[in-house]
Symmetry: C2
Subunit: 528 residues, 2 copies
């Protein structure tokens, strides 16, 4: 799990840059020593052969159907500049209409330009993440309007909650990067919210962060903040992806103006776009999972192809977010058997194109009960066995994404660490096979005090954060705490231990000056 290289789908080794081991500004030689992690969870590699739920002919059928969708039905492309670029690239752009149709050969050609893997650079090189191949990275929850913990209940997010959630993300190595605003801080005015939030993300963590594609200016600010935080030139930024943006299509078959603008701004600077249709079977997509995947695939391929029209070789990620609705209410459902199937087949599709695959850790629970756990665990099952590379909403997501939960964040971190432990190669060396220990103990003995046990005991097994393994009597004496109680305690302990990662004071000054200047300029226009 500590390798600094990983093999991509075509056998090429993705090299992470040589680590910078010099002491950083602030005098701390290794930020990881202050982490509350219980193991090394950087640079996770998923060695499992991905599960194939659908035979190759089925994948081909979905692929061909989605190309037919793009060729015959097309998509509505709501930004004139994007339509012009598409026309120039050879797409069929209907006159006086937003409709664009994509020749299947053109799609194949453009997808062929997309890299199968790349490195996303953080301001702390230890936090760089390798995307694609067998690499597995977890991003914190993003974009919840509400936040909750047991003490304060469910409430609209504010900057303090935002900052506390970001601090939690910094505190665990298994959360490899942040995924956006974990909760929307509504006490910050929308015209300058992105400046404060991106500045917080850059200062409170040393990990890669995300900028929203909500208008060109926000993308440009995000790119500049990423550049300043890393202390690099524009030229270096253009060579090194250092920021990402999730692009959602407005399913079915539509890309709106800010999203298209986001693709243009990000791809033209060689920054990462994750193209993610939100294809909810029975609502914005066909009621069949296969039909939803056809539509997901069409929308994802169109967005990825457009990124390549903007800049050939631009780093992109194939996003899948197909789930189903509750048959009774029409509400979105997550972590369901249908979600598991969609996640696994989505991985088969992404690998067909040699693209990194983004999926999510989801659930629709209203509280931290068994449902929250099993829907998330089923999501983790599917995304791990399905070969997910970039996992959005990996920690903290609940209530179908409406709420960022402090306790769910801790529960998820524990589950993510368990997944990471499960993926560790099993040691089958002669020493691990323990023939001598078995011989020494013999029939009817026990292994508690043997040298083989004593030498390995402390680090042999994963020590969970949340699981309470005390016997019933001791647990009862302790007041019968549930997972909810433990997670509540742990998130507070973690925040109390949090220390801001070191940063070069000159970088911090430059960042503050940029934010101040942009605020003076009024930030961005808002339509309210």
């Amino acid at each position: 799990m500590t390798d600094t290289s990983a093999t991509d789908l075509h056998g090429t080794v993705l090299q992470l840059p040589v680590r910078d081991r010099r002491p950083r500004a602030g005098g701390r030689s290794n930020p990881r020593q202050r982490s509350t992690s219980t193991g090394n969870y950087l640079n996770l590699v998923n060695c499992l052969t991905p599960t194939e739920l659908v035979a190759p002919e089925g994948i081909e059928a979905i692929h061909q159907a989605s190309l037919t969708v793009l060729e015959e039905i097309g998509m509505d492309i709501l930004l004139p500049e994007a339509r012009s670029r598409m026309k120039a690239a050879g797409c069929d752009v209907a006159p006086d209409s937003e409709r664009v149709r994509f020749d299947r050969g053109l799609i194949a050609e453009m997808i062929g330009h997309a890299p199968s893997g790349f490195t996303l650079h953080a301001r702390n090189p230890d936090r760089n993440v390798a995307i694609g191949g067998n690499n597995l990275v977890f991003a914190q929850i993003a974009s919840a309007p509400f936040v909750s913990d047991r003490d304060g209940g469910r409430r609209p997010g504010n900057r303090e909650d935002f900052r506390n959630l970001v601090k939690l993300a910094q505190s665990f190595d298994v959360v490899h990067l942040t995924g956006g605003y974990p909760v929307e801080p509504v006490d910050l005015h929308p015209s300058v919210r992105h400046l404060d939030c991106l500045s917080d993300l850059a200062l409170l963590t040393d990990k890669v962060f995300h900028c929203y594609s909500l208008g060109q200016r926000r993308n440009l600010d995000g790119i500049e903040i990423a550049r300043i935080a890393r202390g690099i030139s524009n030229e270096q930024l253009d060579r090194e992806p250092s920021l990402f943006s999730v692009i959602n299509s407005s399913s079915p078959l539509r890309l709106d103006a800010p999203m298209l603008q986001g693709i243009i701004e990000m791809a033209s600077r060689n920054q990462v776009v994750i193209i993610t249709p939100f294809t909810l079977a029975g609502a914005m997509a066909p009621v069949t999972i296969a039909g939803s995947l056809v539509q997901q695939n069409a929308e994802a391929l169109a967005g990825i192809a457009f990124a390549q029209m903007v800049r050939k070789g631009a780093p992109v990620i194939y996003g899948g977010f197909t789930s189903n609705v509750d048959m009774k209410s029409g509400a979105p459902a997550f972590g369901t058997p249908e979600y598991m199937q969609a996640v696994i087949v989505g991985g088969q599709l992404a690998r067909r194109y040699g693209l990194p695959y983004r999926t999510s850790n989801t659930n629709a629970a209203n509280t931290l009960d068994a449902q929250a756990a099993y829907e998330s665990a089923f999501s983790l099952w599917a995304l791990t066995q399905g070969g997910g590379n970039f996992i959005m909403h990996a920690a903290g997501w609940t209530e179908g994404g409406l709420t960022a939960s402090f306790e769910k964040f801790i529960l998820d971190v524990d589950m993510l660490q368990m997944v990471a432990q499960f993926l560790k190669p099993l040691d089958v060396s002669t020493d691990a096979l323990a023939l001598d220990a078995i011989r020494d103990v013999g029939p009817g003995g026990h292994f508690f005090g043997t040298p083989h046990t004593l030498a390995r005991y402390e680090s042999a097994f994963y020590a969970p954060l949340v699981s309470d393994w005390r016997n019933h009597e001791t647990w009862t004496e302790a007041g019968r705490p549930t997972s909810f109680d433990h997670a509540n305690r742990i998130y507070k302990e973690t925040l109390a231990r949090y220390e801001r990662p070191p940063i070069d004071p000159a970088v911090e000054e430059e960042l503050a000056a940029f934010v101040a200047r942009r605020k003076e300029e009024g930030g961005v226009e808002t339509d309210f």
Copy 2:
């Protein structure tokens, strides 16, 4: 999922008997119509390619090390009759000692006699279960000393609890058989407990049941009750496995007298034994998972080989139960990353020998919280992807097996049904690909009212038992019920709906007469 045949590992088709569709005694033509299941969960087939966590050389290393254990260290065999039989079969039986050593060639030869699959026959042929190959069957929790529900708390089991849990097992098709006594009914005297319990299992369910190997007489009574319940001759019983018994070794490397007697009685009548070492890494087995698997494999192979010495071709199942201990307390831990690894590698070993594989749905939670769910979901992940065939403790197990929980039973049934739904082949027919529906709706529309949706909506997705997908406001108005609340309600509703499955009155009379006679004889001797 409705196939009545399944292919075993060697490509042979395992034929389940042609179903008896005649109305049964009692006048009900189809017991399944009264089930509370939401789908057809009989005859589950796991079409996934099993996950391989260890390379073939690693499996070979574990295999060879375990043969070395059997050859050089051997096992303590505590029953003289078993040692005699082993000596006659060619084992190295030390004089004036319980130690028996097994030549690796002899082990290989004996294992070669074991069938790769077979059918376990229930008194209702609809409930027959195919064991081995790609078949997946779930058995209810067994052998808990305590029982719990939210209302009554945790308490020692009695016959009423026992019967209620058995009634729940009958109520869901996804619980394919019972696994033993779901809870030990301590209000029944041990001398006759097995008679009342086996009679209850035979009458309250029409599914396959288990008899404990706790002395020859109990095995003989169990075999006779299974015969009477099916209304068949001894000769037919000898041809058709209809009862099973779990044989645990006393790890490390010991088989005690009642277990050996159980192998002899069951195998000689062609009934099923599941050989399951309980190899807890760091306690009764080496602290390394690989070392524990070496020991598990040695003990399992010895038991299976002995069953073949008793009767070549006797139906056996390779059992794995390797987990780890809590590093802080030494208490057993379940559903851990190490458990997941052991379950998957156990499957690789069982397939190496072409044997059906038994594993379990485990957790160590003290209550129905997130931990209960994620430890079980991780267990289900491993046993599904690892190719488990026969899943013990699939529903109701909690607190490391100390407690049978009514609410956990419901939660597990829901999770088992989700696994079954996940394993359903994904329909990628032209109709399912939904190109016409996508064309009809077009960019920017929605699929709620389309004919394609309306024709499939009601049965398109799994409708969960426990998950609460209401929005936060509605859920709050409903009193903020948790999964624990829902499961509590559902188990009571299920019991209220329970109806005893029909049985031929002559069979019931014969069964009652047998139990009465055996009780008059005093049941079995007890040592207390």
